[in-house]
């Protein structure tokens, strides 16, 4: 696929397309060109009208202002929120949204989020380290001893899916199935809304509904049963709330971390000096992970404009969407010294990879753990590897950016 349903982009300042492969393939050049042309907020009529602010200040201001910028649609798809609700009247509208709490606004948001926070606090997440190490080592064991591997297909894409599946209580044997669905939901935002795609959405819906029903009948010790038994404002969560949150945990926990691990390994395959520094000094990995999160932040979120207004010189209309490119904020020279340089020992690093404000990624502690362990194990087992240059690296499409294949030549095994 080279174009979305909207066709080729004519001008990135006035007609951008965040779902086009060209966007994620050339993302840093596109932002630099826009900023050099004096365009801090790009616009497109595609997807019903979307704005793209590029500076740290603008991204922060929007993230901190949920009354003017609603979280109802975290992913900018072809249907506007009002159109999507017409298609699926049972879906939750504002302020809860389809995938609470990421799609929820205050004051509902705080209560829905508080339910989940204890399950993702550092002290609950840290003990997962051993499990993640085992997953990573097993994936490498399964690669055999071939000289060329695909680290995305054989390694990065499996790690978060296996962890999330255990947390939510999904059978590990179905991991490929729901990773495929997640990829479709997030990667296909610009694809034709064909009957085949709609059937896939229905299948995912039915699968998760059955999963929840099975847990109502037979409670287990996992997040699904926890949500079913949770209360908000003195009442059990609605079935749609439980469904939306489980869908969120799966969608938000898989593509994102897969992309973060993949971009980090891609950097290490392309930068032998950094790779050697981390092989020789594994205690520096955690700091390097923060720099990879800054430089290759996978996730761009989105907001919806709640009313017609002027915002920093542009006229926004009610129900316009606004992308929140945290990765672009992370490359703002007013916030970071030499932002284009990847410095794995950067000491001052207030990166926004996990967002800013009340919607800070609830899984950030888990994502960090998975990234750290995945890189530690990979470097330990493969102290020397490089990109196999005969093959092209392809990047995902949509608001989560990461490499979808990583052809590596393994030079040394330990």
């Amino acid at each position: 696929m080279t174009d979305t349903v909207y066709g080729p982009v004519t001008d990135w300042a006035t007609d951008f397309d965040h779902g086009a492969p060209e966007y994620n393939n050339n993302i840093h050049q596109i932002w630099d060109d826009l900023k050099a042309a004096g365009c801090p907020i790009a616009h497109t009529e595609r997807y019903g009208g979307v704005w793209l602010p590029l500076t740290h200040d603008l991204v922060k201001e929007i993230a901190y202002d949920p009354s003017r910028f609603s979280s109802l649609t975290p992913v900018v798809q072809q249907l506007k929120p009002s159109e999507a609700l017409l298609e699926d009247p049972e879906a939750l509208g504002a302020p809860i949204g389809p995938v609470p709490p990421i799609s929820s606004d205050p004051p509902f948001h705080a209560d829905a989020r508080r339910l989940l926070l204890p399950a993702f606090s550092p002290k609950v997440i840290d003990p997962w380290r051993k499990e993640v190490e085992e997953i990573c080592n097993k994936l490498i064991d399964d690669m055999g001893d071939t000289d060329v591997i695909d680290a995305a297909v054989q390694y990065t894409q499996h790690i978060p899916v296996l962890v999330v599946a255990q947390m939510v209580g999904l059978p590990l044997s179905d991991a490929d199935q729901f990773r495929g669905w997640v990829d479709m939901v997030l990667g296909g935002i610009g694809a034709e809304r064909s009957e085949e795609r709609m059937a896939q959405f229905m299948a995912m819906d039915e699968y998760l509904t059955k999963h929840i029903e099975a847990h109502i009948a037979n409670p287990q010790d996992n997040l699904t049963s926890y949500l079913i038994n949770s209360e908000i404002f003195g009442e059990k969560l609605s079935p749609r709330h439980v469904f939306g949150t489980i869908l969120l945990l799966i969608i938000a926990g898989i593509d994102t971390t897969w992309s973060g691990i993949g971009s980090s390994l891609w950097h290490l395959a392309s930068n032998p000096i950094d790779r050697r520094r981390l092989v020789e000094n594994p205690e520096k990995i955690s700091m390097a992970v923060e720099e990879f999160l800054r430089a290759y932040a996978p996730v761009t979120m989105a907001r919806m404009v709640t009313d017609d207004m002027e915002f920093h010189g542009v006229q926004m209309k009610k129900e316009d969407r606004v992308l929140l490119p945290f990765p672009a904020a992370n490359r703002d020279e007013n916030q970071f010294a030499d932002p284009a340089i990847v410095d794995i020992e950067r000491e001052e690093n207030r990166h926004a990879a996990f967002g800013l404000g009340i919607h800070r990624c609830i899984g950030s502690n888990l994502a960090r753990l998975e990234m750290n362990v995945a890189i530690e194990v990979f470097l330990k087992r493969f102290p020397d590897f490089e990109l196999e240059t005969s093959e092209q690296v392809t990047w995902s499409t949509g608001q989560v950016r990461g490499p979808r294949n990583l052809p590596f030549r393994i030079n040394v095994r330990a």
Partner: protein, 64 residues
């Protein structure tokens, strides 16, 4: 030297606790607070500054 976490700004990024667990802790919701009334023991000044320099929400301040 003393450190202070502004709880109205903290969003639970957990950078301070990861970088300087001698100076900060987190509650069950993942929100950070300073230990020992924020007093930074001698020798940990650099860690305090590192925590400040890595808080995405600019929630931590230092008083000399």
């Amino acid at each position: 030297m003393r450190v202070h976490v502004d709880s109205s700004k903290c969003q639970g990024h957990n950078r301070c606790y990861a970088l300087a667990p001698e100076l900060f802790d987190v509650d069950d919701l993942g929100n950070a607070f300073e230990l020992n009334d924020g007093v930074v023991p001698a020798g940990l000044e650099d860690k305090a500054r590192l925590a400040v320099a890595n808080c995405p929400e600019f929630a931590i301040t230092i008083e000399d």
